[in-house]
C-alpha cells in the first residue's frame, strides 16, 4: 500500500471519532504550544540581557576596592583605602592590554532644584569615563579635564534624575544643590534603562569631577573603583590578568595572601548572564516538555482503546490479506497523524501565545524557525514512540481470535 492510501485510511478512521481525536490532539497542542512559547520567552530574555551587556561595553573591566577583614569583622565593599589614583596611572602606563582608564568614587546625596528634591547616587570620575562606557549625551556635554583639575562644581545627570528634578523644564545651565553644594548642570546622559545584569536603574545617577567629590563632599582621597577598557574584547582577559598582577605588586600583597581589590571582566559577566539565561530557557522548556509527554501518553491510551474497539476490523483486514506490517503501519500512521496535526496546531497556539506575551508584558519573545522544525519533528517522534506499542498489539492479534471477538 502506498503512503497516500495509508494516510487517507488513517484520516478516515480518525474522522469517525472527531471529538475523541480532537481531545487527544489537545494534549499535543498544549505541549507543543507551551514548549514554543517558553523557548521563545527564554530566548527573548537572553537576547535582551546580551544587548544590555553589549551596550555597557563588552571590553569593559571593573576594578573595585576590595573587602577587608579587620579584627575578625568583615567590612563591606570599598572598606579598603589602598586603591588610589596612582594605581590608575600605573595601569595606563604598564598594562599593554588596557586602553583607557577612569577613576571613580561614589557617594550619595540629596539633590534639590527649586521645590523638587531627589535622593540619588553621586559618582566622581574623569571625562573619559563616558567614552569607556560608550555613554553619549542627549543634551549638553561632559565636564572637561580642566573642570577636574579645578575641582569645579559641574554635574552630568542621568535621565531619571532629570525627569524628577526638571520634568519639562530645560536643565542645561541650571544650578542644582547636592548636599547643599551648588552645581551647574552641563550635560544629560542618554537613558540606559535598568541593568539586566545588576537589576538597578542606571539612569538614577549624578556624575561630577572626581576631585570635586573627593575634596568637597567625601573628604576621601582613595578610589572605590577604576573603570578600564581593554584594547579589544579578546584582550579583556589578558588585561584582567595584567591589572591583577600589577595591583598585587603595587599593594605589596604577599604570594598566597588575599587581594585587597577585585577585577571583574564584563565579557565574563556576559557569559555568566548568558549561561543563566540558557539554564532558565531549558528549565521552562523542560517543564513544557512534560506536558508534551503527557499528551503522548494520551495518544497511546486512545490508540489502545481504538485497537480493542476495532479488533474485528483488524481480523477482517487480516482475513482479506493485510499483513502484520500493513496493520502496524495503519495504526502507527493514525498515531503520527494525530500528533502531527496536534503539533501543527500547537505551533499556531505557541506563536499566538508568544505574540500575546510580547503584547501584554512588553517582553520580547523570539521564536526561531529551528524551534518550529524541532517542534514538528518532536511531535512526530511522540506519535511514533507512543503509537508503536498499540500498533504492535494490533499487528500481533491472531486473525481467528480477532474475527471471533465480540
Amino acid at each position: 500500500m502506498d503512503l497516500l492510501a495509508i494516510v487517507r485510511i488513517a484520516l478516515r478512521a480518525l474522522g469517525r471519532n472527531k471529538m475523541r481525536s480532537i481531545l487527544t490532539m489537545l494534549g499535543i497542542i498544549i505541549g507543543v504550544g507551551a514548549v514554543i512559547a517558553m523557548l521563545g520567552v527564554g530566548q527573548g530574555a537572553r537576547q535582551t540581557v546580551q544587548e544590555q551587556i553589549q551596550a555597557m561595553g563588552s571590553n569593559l573591566l571593573f576594578v573595585g576596592a576590595g573587602t577587608v577583614t579587620r579584627s575578625g569583622m568583615h567590612m563591606g565593599w570599598g572598606s579598603t583605602k589602598s586603591l588610589i589614583y596612582d594605581d590608575m596611572l600605573a595601569i595606563m602606563r604598564e598594562c599593554p592590554a588596557a586602553h583607557t582608564a577612569a577613576p571613580g568614587s561614589s557617594s550619595s546625596g540629596q539633590v534639590v532644584f527649586g521645590n523638587d528634591n531627589w535622593a540619588t547616587r553621586v559618582n566622581g570620575t574623569e571625562p573619559q569615563y563616558f567614552d569607556i562606557r560608550t555613554w553619549p549625551f542627549q543634551e549638553g556635554t561632559s565636564f572637561t579635564q580642566n573642570d577636574v583639575e579645578m575641582a569645579a562644581n559641574v554635574a552630568v545627570i542621568g535621565e531619571t534624575v532629570r525627569k524628577n528634578l526638571f520634568g519639562a523644564t530645560d536643565s542645561i545651565g541650571q544650578t542644582i544643590r547636592i548636599n547643599n553644594l551648588p552645581f551647574r548642570v552641563v550635560g544629560v546622559l542618554v537613558p540606559k534603562g535598568t541593568s539586566a545584569a545588576m537589576g538597578d536603574d542606571q539612569d538614577d545617577i549624578i556624575i561630577v569631577p572626581i576631585t570635586t567629590l573627593q575634596k568637597k563632599m567625601t573628604g576621601q582621597n582613595w578610589l572605590r573603583w577604576i573603570m578600564v577598557s581593554a584594547v579589544s574584547r579578546q584582550a579583556s582577559y589578558a588585561a584582567q590578568q595584567q591589572i591583577a598582577a600589577l595591583l598585587r605588586d603595587r599593594h605589596r600583597i604577599r604570594p598566597g595572601a588575599d587581594d585587597d581589590f577585585f577585577v571583574r571582566n564584563l565579557a565574563d559577566l556576559a557569559d555568566v548572564a548568558d549561561e543563566a539565561g540558557r539554564v532558565m530557557t531549558l528549565l521552562l522548556a523542560s517543564i513544557a516538555a512534560v506536558s508534551l509527554i503527557v499528551g503522548g501518553i494520551g495518544i497511546m491510551n486512545i490508540m489502545l482503546v481504538s485497537v480493542t474497539e476495532r479488533t474485528r476490523e483488524i481480523g477482517v483486514r487480516m482475513a482479506v490479506g493485510a499483513t502484520e506490517r500493513d496493520v502496524q503501519q495503519q495504526f502507527l500512521t493514525e498515531a503520527v497523524v494525530l500528533s502531527l496535526f496536534g503539533g501543527g496546531m500547537g505551533i499556531l497556539f505557541g506563536l499566538s501565545a508568544s505574540y500575546l506575551i510580547t503584547k501584554t508584558l512588553g517582553w520580547p519573545v523570539l521564536v526561531s524557525p529551528v524551534v518550529i522544525v524541532i517542534a514538528v519533528l518532536f511531535s512526530m517522534a511522540v506519535g511514533v514512540f507512543f503509537g508503536f506499542y498499540p500498533a504492535r498489539r494490533a499487528a500481533q492479534l491472531d486473525p481467528i481470535e480477532a474475527l471471533r471477538y465480540e
Binding site: 500500500m1 492510501a5 485510511i9 478516515r12 469517525r16 474485528r312 476490523e313 481480523g315 477482517v316 483486514r317 487480516m318 482475513a319 482479506v320 490479506g321 493485510a322 499483513t323 502484520e324 506490517r325 500493513d326 486473525p399 481467528i400 474475527l403
Partner: protein
C-alpha cells in the same frame, strides 16, 4: 489428474477436474493449559475446481478448525495441505496473507463489514492489499457489487442495508480479487429463511460460473443446495457424499412466502 465425472457441472468451465484443495492426514492440537485438545484427528480430502461443498457437523466436531486451516488463517499441526499445488504449511505469515488476499474469499456469519464505511469501500478493502491500482480496484468493486445485484447501492452504509444486502456486500468483497475458492462460514446463520435461499441462489450462480465454494452450515435445508456434503464428527470426516437431487434456489424462492405477506 482425477477424471471422475461430474454430470451436473456445466461444460463452459475451464480446467474442470483440476484438484484445487488437497488435504492429507491433517491433525490440529491446541494446548489449553495442561491439557491438549485434539481438534482434528487425521482429515484427508480432495476438492476439485468447480465443486460446491458443504461442511456440516456439531459444534466441537472440528469443522471450524478445518475451515480456518482451509482459509490459511491457521496452520495444521501435522499433515499436508496443498492449495493449487502450493504447500501451505511451509509458508510464512506474510506469504499466508498474500494467499488469503489472492486465492481465498471469505464470507462470515456476522457479515463483518466495516461500520460507517460505504458498500463500495467495504468491497474495495481486499484490493488495497493487492498490487493493483486504485482505479482498477474501484472498477472491480463496482463490477462485484453489480454481480450480487447491489449496483445501485454502492454509496450506502451497512446500517442502511438489510441483512441480506449486507451479506451480498460481503460476498462482493470476497469476490473482488477473483479468488480460486470462496469460503463461507455459516453465511445464512443470521438471516431469515427466504433471504437465506436468496443467498444460496447467488452461490449457485457463482458456482455455475465455475467458482469453487466451500460452505459451513448446520442447516440441512441450506446444505442441500450444494453438490457435495461432508460431515465432521469428533475431528474426523464421518460422511462424504454427493447430493443427488439438488434443488435450484431460484425455484425454491417461488414457493416461499414473501416478507410482506
Amino acid at each position: 489428474m482425477a477424471t471422475t465425472s461430474q454430470p451436473d457441472m456445466k461444460a463452459t468451465i475451464k480446467q474442470d477436474h483440476e484438484t484445487i484443495i488437497l488435504v492429507r492426514e491433517v491433525h490440529k492440537y491446541y494446548e489449553l493449559g495442561e491439557t491438549r485438545v485434539h481438534a482434528l484427528r487425521g482429515v484427508s480430502i480432495e476438492i476439485k475446481r468447480g465443486e460446491f461443498v458443504t461442511i456440516m457437523g456439531a459444534s466441537g466436531s472440528g469443522k471450524s478448525t478445518f475451515m480456518n486451516i482451509l482459509g490459511c488463517l491457521d496452520k495444521p499441526s501435522a499433515g499436508r495441505y496443498l492449495l493449487e499445488n502450493i504447500e501451505v504449511s511451509s509458508l510464512s505469515k506474510k506469504e499466508l496473507a498474500a494467499i488469503r488476499n489472492h486465492k481465498i474469499g471469505f464470507v462470515f456469519q456476522g457479515f463483518n463489514l466495516l461500520a460507517r464505511t460505504t458498500a463500495l469501500e467495504n468491497v474495495e478493502l481486499p484490493t488495497l492489499y493487492a498490487r493493483i491500482s486504485k482505479a482498477e480496484g474501484e472498477k472491480r468493486s463496482r463490477e462485484a457489487l453489480a454481480l450480487v445485484g447491489l449496483g445501485d447501492r454502492v454509496a450506502h452504509f451497512p446500517s442502511q442495508l438489510s441483512g441480506g444486502q449486507q451479506q451480498r456486500v460481503a460476498i462482493a468483497r470476497a469476490l473482488v480479487n477473483r479468488p480460486s475458492i470462496l469460503l463461507a462460514d455459516e453465511p445464512t446463520g443470521n438471516l431469515d429463511s427466504r433471504t437465506s435461499v436468496e443467498i444460496m441462489d447467488i452461490f449457485q450462480n457463482l458456482n455455475d460460473e465455475g467458482l469453487t465454494i466451500v460452505l459451513v452450515t448446520h442447516e440441512p435445508d441450506i446444505a442441500r443446495f450444494a453438490k457435495r456434503s461432508i460431515q465432521f464428527r469428533d475431528g474426523r470426516i464421518h460422511r462424504d457424499e454427493r447430493i443427488q437431487t439438488r434443488p435450484r434456489a431460484s425455484e425454491v424462492i417461488q414457493n416461499l412466502p414473501k416478507l410482506e405477506d
